[in-house]
């Protein structure tokens, strides 16, 4: 099936786009030219088998994870299960909640195993795995809306910090959300961990039973959704600021609990005009608050 995947260098000559079925990656490696080339070759070689591997176990991966479940056989599938397992007591979760992050980690692993790189990232639709050699850093930004290049938050990630994974989840994304968050961005040690955590925090930003939140069974939209008959958010009416606060409080409580257990390092919860930050301040996600105030005053 090697002909199915598309792999191409982007117009800027630096980044590579890898696409297969629902997987879209943009990767970039930094270092000596021959090292970068080796990393890209390795990434491509690994990438062409990823989708087939996952699909071989798709039925299992779409089922809710329970503690003593047998492990799947694929290395990415194992990583997915490991990432969601810490959450399965608390809430409904399937390994698919970590698929994007787990794939990003796998390709990043293939790159760093094959080459000496100063920095590298694998961006899987917003779920990002990072590599940082000592002394290196990345700046990561979040945009509130498409086409609106103003960043509502930035985070500088340097090699001294443990963060190597970033993920965003919310109701506008490609996956269904059980909550009403516009976006929850999570920094965690690994991309798969960040992916799973962003999913459940975004699900927790919610007003259960609220009449202005339109929910439909996931299956009615997508018959083979791993969420089955769970109600997924399709629309949110005008909510009062108290209601927005309550929804953010609920999400922040889950985020704080994940933070306490070391599953995440930081989270930014975004709902309408409000952003809540949970986690260590030295990630500079703190700047979110300031940026938001500025934006609010402009838009008022």
């Amino acid at each position: 099936m090697r002909t199915r995947a598309q792999i191409r260098l982007l117009e800027d000559g630096r980044r590579v786009h890898l696409h297969d079925g629902p997987i879209d990656l943009i990767i970039e490696a930094f270092g000596e030219t021959n090292e970068i080339n080796a990393a890209y070759r390795s990434a491509a070689d690994r990438f062409v088998n990823v989708l087939d591997e996952l699909c071989g176990e798709l039925t299992f991966l779409r089922q809710a994870t329970r503690a003593p479940d047998p492990l799947p056989s694929g290395v990415i599938a194992k990583r997915m299960v490991a990432a969601v397992a810490p959450h399965c007591e608390r809430t409904f979760i399937t390994p698919m909640a970590a698929v994007a992050g787990a794939v990003a980690e796998e390709i990043l692993g293939a790159m760093t195993a094959a080459a000496r790189l100063s920095r590298a990232y694998v961006n899987n639709g917003g779920d990002i795995a990072l590599h940082l050699a000592p002394g290196q850093h990345f700046v990561v930004g979040m945009v509130e809306k498409k086409g609106c290049p103003s960043l509502f938050a930035t985070a500088t990630l340097d090699s001294a910090q443990p963060v190597r994974g970033i993920a965003t989840s919310g109701r506008h994304g490609r996956s269904f959300s059980l909550g009403i968050a516009d976006a929850v961005t999570v920094l965690a040690d690994r991309a798969a961990m960040a992916d799973a955590a962003a999913t459940i925090i975004a699900n927790a930003v919610d007003l259960p039973g609220h009449p202005l939140v339109v929910r439909v069974p996931a299956r009615s939209l997508s018959p083979d959704s791993d969420l089955g008959d769970l109600l997924v958010t399709q629309g949110v009416g005008e909510l009062s600021s108290d209601e927005l606060t309550a929804a953010l409080d609920a999400g922040a409580a889950v985020a704080r609990s994940l933070l306490a257990s070391g599953l995440i390092r930081s989270a930014a919860l975004h709902l309408r005009r409000d952003t809540r930050v949970v986690g260590r301040q030295n990630h500079r996600l703190l700047s979110v608050g300031e940026t938001q105030r500025v934006r609010s005053s402009i838009h008022a």
Binding site: M1, G126, C148, P149, H299
Partner: protein, 489 residues
């Protein structure tokens, strides 16, 4: 077993089941009315840029600006989602592909747009579609209402935020689907409470209770007499214009009297309103002049022998000229059908010529809200001011719009002037419509535009996933220089 009309996509081993109107996990393949269609893979980013939230003049900053609006006068980039025409575009958190503000990677979250929108439908028919303010339904759900009639037309007002988001989920979904279909010029069946069922399609004749309208009548029977009396005078002794609303009779009508047309002793069945004007000559129907008669003589009683004379020439014609017959009275004063004399066929043809084809026309009306404007400038009200001051031209898929006076940017556009499949929707439900703001870069900068985001037209045209269309020759070119608004400097 496939559920409902879901189809299985075999493009990749995920083998998604995709419901109609939705995409698979990849957002690349979709179920379009049971057909698996492919959506261009590389449009996501550009689409977001061009969709409308941040439509900016695509100026090449490296080149000196020569005073024209866009570097390439041959191309105008519309806000229609490039490459993909698919309505159910589900935006993804995705990657802005270049470094922005010194940031290496960016995660994007999107929002849908027009929740305040609807369509105004003009249906060219004299048939009674339903009482004013009656609910208009699609698939049984209320989607709008009958509004004031206009000349020769019935008007419907459909959509609006109350039907879209204020009612039940189903009402919202059906309203959104109805608007989308009408805007995309697809046929929609509407039923009116206490009235008719009408099939509406932009640019096509309406079909009312199964009967297709052909032409708008030139006027009621009485008005037709008024318009054509002079042309008939001297060529014929009596004319009856058969009309379900008001049937006109030349010799009794004020227009005939003024010309000195002689009394003919004609007697019309039905209720006489004023001289020469008759209500209810027959039952409503789909035959002569919107009545149920196929033999025009059936509305006549015997001629009064005090006034009538043998060889009296009688023309009977419908308000559209489509039906007509010519008679002469015999010695017993009975009408006998004859061939229409050439001098009269001209006037009959003239009636027909003055009856325009009956059409349904659909205007989309929407309001560009705060967030949309915020996608253009950091100070949204300045965009409104700029549109007011005619510094900024608004187009919708390249088609001209009428911007309603007053606050905000509320506009109307004739959907038939827009490219096909210009509209989409988000599940809110709300309609996604293209909207372009064209202005000079100097003005754009002045109103707080996102100058960093200005891209060259060349870079847009070169990228993949563009749907290139010829401009509609009936539309003014959106970038036509003469029309471009003055700049204050």
């Amino acid at each position: 077993m496939l559920e409902d009309d879901a189809i299985r996509c075999d493009a990749c081993p995920v083998l998604c089941y995709i419901r109609p109107g939705r995409t698979g996990a990849c957002d690349r393949y979709a179920n379009d009315n049971g057909q698996l269609i492919r959506i261009d893979p590389h449009v996501v980013l550009d689409r977001a840029v061009s969709r409308g939230d941040s439509v900016v003049p695509f100026l090449d900053r490296d080149r000196e600006w020569d005073g024209s609006i866009v570097t390439g006068p041959e191309n105008f980039v519309t806000a229609i989602g490039a490459g993909t025409t698919y309505p159910d575009y589900k935006p993804a958190p995705f990657i802005i592909s270049s470094t922005v503000q010194g940031v290496d990677m960016v995660t994007v979250v999107t929002e849908g747009i027009f929740s305040y929108c609807g369509v105004k439908v003009k249906i060219d028919t004299d048939r009674h579609l339903g009482p004013e303010t009656s609910l208009v339904r699609a698939q049984g759900e209320p989607v709008g209402h009958v509004t004031t009639s206009e000349y020769g037309s019935q008007m419907l007002s459909l959509g609006g935020v109350r039907h879209l988001t204020g009612g039940s989920r189903k009402e919202g979904t059906v309203t959104c689907e109805t608007l989308l279909n009408l805007c995309d010029r697809r046929p929609v069946e509407l039923s009116i409470d206490g009235g008719a069922t009408v099939m509406v399609q932009a640019g096509k004749p309406p079909v009312v209770d199964g009967a297709q309208e052909e032409r708008m009548r030139v006027g009621c029977g009485s008005a037709t007499i008024g318009m054509f009396a002079k042309q008939w005078f001297g060529k014929v002794d009596e004319v009856v214009v058969v009309d379900d609303h008001i049937t006109g009779v030349l010799s009794e009508h004020q227009a005939g009297k003024l010309l000195g047309v002689k009394e003919t002793g004609i007697k019309i069945k039905g209720h006489r309103s004023t001289p020469g004007r008759y209500f209810r000559v027959a039952e409503p129907g789909t035959a002569w002049g919107g009545t149920n008669i196929s033999d025009p003589l059936s509305i006549l009683q015997n001629f009064n022998p005090k006034f009538a004379w043998p060889k009296l020439r009688l023309l009977m014609v419908s308000t559209t000229g489509e039906d007509h017959a010519y008679f002469e009275l015999d010695e017993a004063l009975r009408p006998v059908e004859r061939d229409l004399p050439a001098v009269l066929s001209e006037s009959v043809a003239r009636i027909k010529e003055n009856c325009e084809p009956a059409l349904c026309t659909v205007l989309f009306m929407g309001g560009a809200g705060g967030s949309l404007r915020a996608g253009v400038t950091e100070n949204p009200v300045r965009l409104t001011h700029s549109v007011r001051d005619a510094l900024t031209r608004v187009t919708c898929g390249g088609a001209p719009v009428y911007v309603w006076p007053g606050g905000g940017i509320t506009f109307m556009v004739d959907v038939s002037r827009m490219p096909e499949h210009a509209f989409g929707y988000v599940p809110t439900p709300a309609l996604v419509a293209p909207i372009e703001f064209t202005l000079k870069i100097k003005d754009y900068e002045a109103l707080g535009g996102y100058m960093d985001h200005v891209r060259s037209l060349d870079s847009i045209m070169d990228s993949k996933g563009r749907r290139r269309l010829s401009a509609n020759p009936d539309n003014p070119w959106p970038l036509a220089p003469g029309k471009l608004p003055r700049s204050d400097e």
